[in-house]
Amino acid sequence: MADWTLFEVFVRSKHGLNHKHVGSVHAADATMALENARELYTRRSEGVSLWVVPAEQITASAGDEKEPFFDPADDKVYRHASFYKLPPEVDQM
């Protein structure tokens, strides 16, 4: 039996960047989870902000669903800037 809840931890390493998943911690509540995450994942000044989320609250896409779930995006190249060929004079856009 697990004593404490499993929380997933997300760290923002610098202002202006997204939070990134780094791992998990155990804690009795969210306050403690934040503190435990601080001790564990930011000992070397790795972060400016932390999120903790109970692991059971996360809904993930099924691992082997890559094909139906993500491949349809592969042929929509018009969503990427590199799809649009511009003359060199304005290609800095």
Binding site: A28, M32, N36, E39
Partner: protein, 251 residues
Amino acid sequence: MKNDQALIEYLLRLADTDMVLAQRFCEWCGNAPALEEEMAMLNAGLDLIGQARNWYDYAAELLDDGRDADHLAFRRNEREYRNLLIAEQPRGDYAVTTVKQFFFDVWHHLVLTRLTESSDERIAGIAAKALKEVTYHRRRSTEWMLRLGQGTDESHRRLADAVENLWRFTYELADTDDVEDQLAEAGIGAGNVGDAWRAEVARVFAEAGLELPEPARHFYMDGKNGKHTEHLGFLLAEMQYLPRAYPDATW
């Protein structure tokens, strides 16, 4: 006493208290109730030794007798040590550690806050850095006071027992002696933080469901002036073993 001499005394009290408490944290290594708590205690211990080193360095400069920070930490005996009595009490169970730490953290936070305003710039600088760390220590120990106080019957009982056992040492936190008064008048030291200490402890006790005892009365022991309980001797014997056993060694 000249201000300089009083200042050395004062610095050693701050340093020794940090050092002795950190040593008690070290004793938790491998024994904490959860790995997460182990990390947290080692972190707090690291903070305290870092602070002790800063105070010792300054004291060594003022002493100017060839002793350095390590010498002050590892070669003075229990009658020369100036830590608060509460710091040297055995780590006990997690309730004892929590109460000790809470009493100290509240005091430490008040003292450091005032020291950031010290007319001695060196002290103000060290205090400003330490205050960030201690703000977090106080937050953590306060949270644990509430968890244990409101948690289970057992945790509440253990917490109340710890308070009963440790309360008698708190007069040192609520009172000042000549050294402290003199430095406070000179604008250097923090002076008496007793009222604020008691108010904050009362607030947390009320929330934790603990009864606030009458202010602790003085007794004949006095850690600030080198009169300790029996525990300190053993703590120092262990901590100072290598430098004492091998006085000529370089580590």
